[in-house]
Symmetry: D3
Subunit: 245 residues, 6 copies
C-alpha cells in the first residue's frame, strides 16, 4: 500500500514529525510518501493560512496520484482543502481531524480536543459539527502555544497539554483526548500513559483508516458531491498547477 502523507504547511520539521508518527503505527505493507507543498506557509493558524495551505494540498494530491499513491492523508487538524482534494483525487482522501474524531467516537461516549491557539477554536468547532460529532465532543480547548513553538522546549508544551487534558477529563467527562495539531503527534504515547485514557493522534488514525480503505477496495464516490472537476481553463497559480495536470 502506497500512501501520500501530505503535510499542508511548508515546515520540513513538521513533515518529519508527521512522518515519524505515521511510520510508527502503519502496517508493514505500507509505504509512505511524506511531502509538503512547494510553496505556501510554514504553519497553519487561521483561515487565510488554511486557504494558502489548501492550494498546496491540491498540488501534492496531483503529485501523489502521478506516482501511484493509493490514498492521500491531509496531516493538518483543519483538514484544509479536503473537499477539493476529494474532487480532484481518484483515490480516497482522509483528513486527520476527521480520522481522529471518528476514532475517538469508537473509544468513548465523549472526547475532548486540545489544540494550539484559541484563534483556531472556531475552525475545530466547525469540523466537529461537519463530521457529526457535536454530541460526542465535550469541548475544544487551546494551550496558547503556536504550532512552531510546540517543539521548542521553552514552550513547555507537554506540561501545558497535559494540564489541558486533565481539565477536559474532569470538567468535560472526556473518555478520550483528540490532539488538535499534527505537531503534537510525538507526545501521544507519553500523554496516554500519564492520563490513563486514550489519546488520539490523527496522523496515525488516518493512516490506519487509509489502509482499511485500500484493503477494502473503497474510494471516494464520484457520482454526486465529489464528481471530477469539469474541464476548465484556469489562470494564475491554478493554471500553472491544473492546466498541466
Amino acid at each position: 500500500m502506497f500512501i501520500n502523507l501530505i503535510n499542508p504547511n511548508t515546515s520540513v520539521s513538521m513533515t518529519d514529525c508527521i512522518h515519524q508518527a505515521a511510520k510508527s503505527t502503519s502496517s508493514p505493507q505500507t509505504q509512505l510518501r511524506a511531502c509538503h507543498p512547494s510553496e505556501g506557509v510554514a504553519s497553519i493558524e487561521g483561515y487565510l493560512d488554511e486557504l494558502v495551505a489548501a492550494t498546496g494540498v491540491i498540488e501534492q494530491v496531483i503529485e501523489g496520484e502521478k506516482v501511484g499513491c493509493q490514498a492521500h492523508i491531509l496531516a493538518c487538524f483543519g483538514d484544509p482543502g479536503l473537499d477539493a482534494a476529494r474532487e480532484v483525487a481518484n483515490v480516497p482522501v482522509i483528513g486527520i481531524a476527521e480520522a481522529a474524531m471518528h476514532t475517538a467516537s469508537l473509544l468513548g461516549h465523549k472526547f475532548s480536543i486540545v489544540t494550539t491557539l484559541s484563534r483556531t477554536l472556531p475552525m475545530s468547532e466547525h469540523l466537529v459539527h461537519k463530521y457529526g460529532m457535536t454530541a460526542h465532543c465535550g469541548g475544544v480547548s487551546a494551550v496558547e502555544i503556536a504550532v512552531l513553538e510546540l517543539h521548542n522546549p521553552e514552550s513547555d508544551a507537554y506540561q501545558r497539554i497535559l494540564m489541558a487534558c486533565q481539565a477536559a477529563i474532569k470538567d468535560e467527562q472526556a473518555d478520550a483526548i483528540v490532539l488538535g495539531c499534527a505537531g503534537m503527534a510525538d507526545l501521544t504515547r507519553r500523554l496516554q500513559n500519564a492520563l490513563g485514557i486514550p489519546v488520539i493522534d490523527g496522523v496515525s488514525a488516518a493512516v490506519g483508516m487509509a489502509e482499511m480503505l485500500i484493503r477494502c477496495g473503497l474510494t471516494t464516490g464520484k457520482r454526486h458531491a465529489y464528481a471530477a472537476p469539469l474541464l476548465k481553463t484556469y489562470s494564475g497559480w491554478a493554471g500553472n498547477l491544473l492546466n498541466r495536470a
Copy 2:
C-alpha cells in the same frame, strides 16, 4: 458608502450582470466597485473552482481595502473564501448566499433554493447548515444548466428555473425562493411576478445588508474567530499577494 462588489470568477459578463443587479437596488448614497480576480476560473461549479476563486477573492479584498471600500460582497452563491476574507478585511464581508438566506427567513416560514448544477447541491446544503437555516430551508434543487449557459437563450433558463420554483412551492411549501447563483440575478423580478411569492437575489440583499452595517458602524469582530492573520512569510501565489500587502 463605498462597497466592494467582488465577482469571485473571472467572467466579465458575470461581473456586469452582478453590477446591474446591485445598482438597481442600492441606495443613492452607495458607490460600487465591481471587480473580479485578475486570475482564476470563469465559473464556479465545484470545490476546486471554489478554492481557486477564494484565492482571487482575497486579492480583491486587499485591492478594495486599499481604495477605501467600506464593505466587501462575495457575489458567488458558494460564498467562497468568506472566512478568510473576514480574517483579512478590516471592514465587513458578506456572502450572497448568507445574505439571501437570512433575507428569506424574514419573509416566510420556509424558503427553497434553486441552483444550477446538481453537483453543487452539497455545497449549498453545507451553507444551509452553517448559517443555521436547516429548519427554514425546504429544499435545494438544480436546473442542470451550467453557470455560463444561463445567459445563452438556448438554455431556456427562465422556463426551467420557473418550473423548479413552482415545484418547490408545491412540494416544499416554499414561502420564498432563493436564487442559487449570482448569474440568475437578472431574472429575479420576472420570476417574482410570475410566482407571486418573494424571489431573492443574494446580490441585492447583500448590498442592502452592507449598507445597513455601514450605517450602523458595524464591522467584523476581530477578537476571536476573525482576528487579523498572524504576521507570516508566504511563498508562491500567496507570497505575491500577501507579502506585498
Copy 3:
C-alpha cells in the same frame, strides 16, 4: 421609504429612545412613523406582557398600513406578535431580535445576548432556536435591571451591561454582542467603543434590513404560512380592532 416603527409597549420615553436609535442610522430617504399601542402595558418582561403587547402590535400594524407604511418594525426584543403581524400585513415585518441575531451572525462566529431580567431568558432562548441561531449564540445573560429602570441613573445600567458583555467575551468567546432590549439602544456606541467588538442594537439593524427589503421590492410570502387571515367575525377587543379594519 416610509417605515412603521412600532414600540410594542405604551411607554412614551421608550418610543422616543427607539426613534432616536432608528433616526441615527437610517437612510436619508427614510421617513419613520414612531408609534406605540393606544393601550397595553408600559414594559414587556414576561409572557403575559408579550401577549398584551402583541395585540397592540396588530393595532399599530393596521394603522401603519392605512397611512402607507412600506415596512413594519417590532421594536421589542421578544418580537411580540411577529407571526400574526406578518399574516395581517401586506408589507414586510421585522422583529428587532431577529434583525439583531441575523446581523450578528454576519460579524462573527458567535454572538452573546445581554438582556434585562433573568425571567425573560427563556424567551430569548426560544427565539435563538426559532431563528436558527443555536450554533451561533454563545449564551444569553441578564443584568437584572427592569426595562423601565434602564434609564434611571441609579440602576447603573451602563456599567452592569458592560460587565456582562466583558464576561460574555471572556467566557463565551463572543465575537459580537446583541443588546437584548430596545431600551438599551442609546448605549450601543459607547459599549462598542469600550469593548472593541461589534455591539448590535436591533432597532438600527431592523431599519437597515427594512430599507433593504423595500429597495429590493420584497415582502412576506403570502401563499402558505403567512396567507392573509380568513374573513371572520371577531368579538371583544379583536372585534373593535379587526371588524372595522
Copy 4:
C-alpha cells in the same frame, strides 16, 4: 379533581364536542369545567386567530382559578397562550398538542399529525420542534377542511381524515396518529378501529395527564420561566381583565 377545560374559541358546539371527549375518558373522580372565552373568534386557523384566542384563554384561566380548578387544559391544537397561561396560573396548564405528542411518543417510534387546513401546518411544525418531537414526528398533513366544517356531513371529514392517516402509515411509517384539531375528537375511536394503530385525541390525553399531575401534587415551576407576572397596570382589554383579577 376539578379540571378547567378551556376551548379557546367561542364556538359552543366545539366546547360540547371537547367536553364529550373529555368526559368519556376522564377518571370518575374528575369534575370538568367546560368553558370558552366570552369574546374572541369561532375557530382558530391562523396566527391572528391564535392571538385573539390566547387572550380569551387568559380570561378563562383566571375564571377557573377563582372557582378552584386544579388544572387547566387548552383544548386547541395550537396550544394558544400556553406560556402566558402558565405564567398566570397557580395550577398546571396543559395544551392538547403537547399532550397528544408526548402520548404518541410513548406508543411508537414515529407519529404523524393529521390536521385541518394547510395554512396551519407551520404552526404544528413549530410546536413539534418546541416540544422536542422533531425526530419522532414523521410528518404533518392537512385534509383541507375548515374547523367548523368538520361536523358538516358534506365535508366528508371522516373519509378524508382516514385517507390522510392511511397515507401517513404508508409513506411516513407512522406507528401512531395524532389528530391535529380538537374538533376531530369524536372520530378518534372510529379511526383507531379502522386503522389498527393508536389514534390520539389530545383532549383525552391532556385530561389524563392533568389527573396525573394533580395526583402527584405537581404544578408549574414558578422560579424562572413561569414566575408570576410582575405587578403592572394594564390598559385596554388587558386592563379590564387583569386589573380586576
Copy 5:
C-alpha cells in the same frame, strides 16, 4: 385498571419503595402488580447491569400479560429493555425515565436530572436525546451514592440530593427536578417542599400516564417499529423464557 409495576432489579426493598410511591399517587380504580425479575442483579448502575435487567423485564412483562395487566411500567431510570418490552407486549409499556421527562417538560422550560453515580450519566444523557428532551434538559448531575446506599442513613442521601437540586436551580435555571433513580421516590415530597419547585418521581408519573393510556384505550402501535416478534426458536435463557411463552 391493572398495572404491572416492574422493578427491573432483584432488590425486594426497592420493589417495596417503588410500590409505595405508586400506591400513594395512583387512582382508586388502579390495582398494582409490583414485581421484580426472578433472577438478575440487585441494582442497575451500568450497561451490563442494564442488559441483565432487560432480560428480567421481558420475563415480568410476559408474566404480567398472563394475569391480565393492562399496562407495564419499567421502574428503573435507565428504562432497560423498553424497546424489546414494547415489541413483546400487547398493552402499553412506559419507562419511568421517559414518564418523568415528559412530565417535567409540562411544568417548566428546563428541567435538571439528579441521579446516583456519575458512571451512569451517559445513560441518562442518551435517554434525554432519545426522548427529544435535549433542549429541555438543563443538565444531569450525580450525587455519587450507589443505588443500594440511598436508604442507608449514613449515605446522607437527602442532604446530598437536596444540594445537587439547589445547584441545578442556580446553575442550570431548572424549573423542575427529575429524580434519576426509582430508589429516590420516597424523597420526592420532602425535596419539593424544601425546593419550592416541582420534583418528579418517574414512578408516580408513569402510573398516571399508564392510567391515561388505559382510559383512552391506547396501546403501542404494532405495525412498524414494535410489531410482534417473528416466530423463532430461541435457546438458552431466552429459550426457557420465550419458547414456553
Copy 6:
C-alpha cells in the same frame, strides 16, 4: 493482531459468511477468532432478538478476552450489546454499523443504508442518530428479505438490493451505500462494480478499524462511560456467565 469476530446470532452459515468477508480484506498480520454465542437466536430482526443476541455477545467477549484477543467486532448491523461489551472488555470493541457509517462518511457527502426487513428500520435510524450521522445519511430502505433468506437463491437478494441501491443513488443522492446486514457481505464487490460508487460492508470496515486501533495502541476509555462493571453478584444466565468470569 488477534481479533475476536463475533457473529451475535447462532447461525453457523452466517458466521462463515462474516469470516470470509473479514479474511478477504484483513491484514496479513491479523488472525481472526470467528465465533457466535453458544445459545440465542439464529437471526436478529427486532428488539427482542437484539436483546437475546446482546447477552450472547457478552459471552463471546469474555471468551475472546480469555484467549488474548486484542479487539472485538460485533458483526450484526444493530451493534447489539455494544455499550455493555465496551464496559466489560479491556480491549476495543467495534460494531459493524458504526464502522460502516464512519467509513461511508469518509467517502462521500451522503450515504444510504440498504437493509433487510422494514421492521428493523427504526433500529438503523436510531444508530444513525447515535453515531452522529443524521446529516450524512440520505435514507434507510429495506428490501423485505429476511436475514436467513439472503442466501436462498429464490429470494433474488442481489437484484433486489441492487435496485434499492439504484433508487438510493437517484432519490437520495447517495455517494456511497452501506449494506445494512452482515449477511450481505458477500455481495459487496459485485454491487460496487455494478453501481460505480463505493459499497461498504461493515465487517471489512470494522476489521480495518480494529487493526488501526491495535497498531495505534488505543482502547476504550475506562474512566467514565465505560468504566469496568462494579463487582456484583448476578443470578440466572448472568450469574452463570459473569460470576465465573
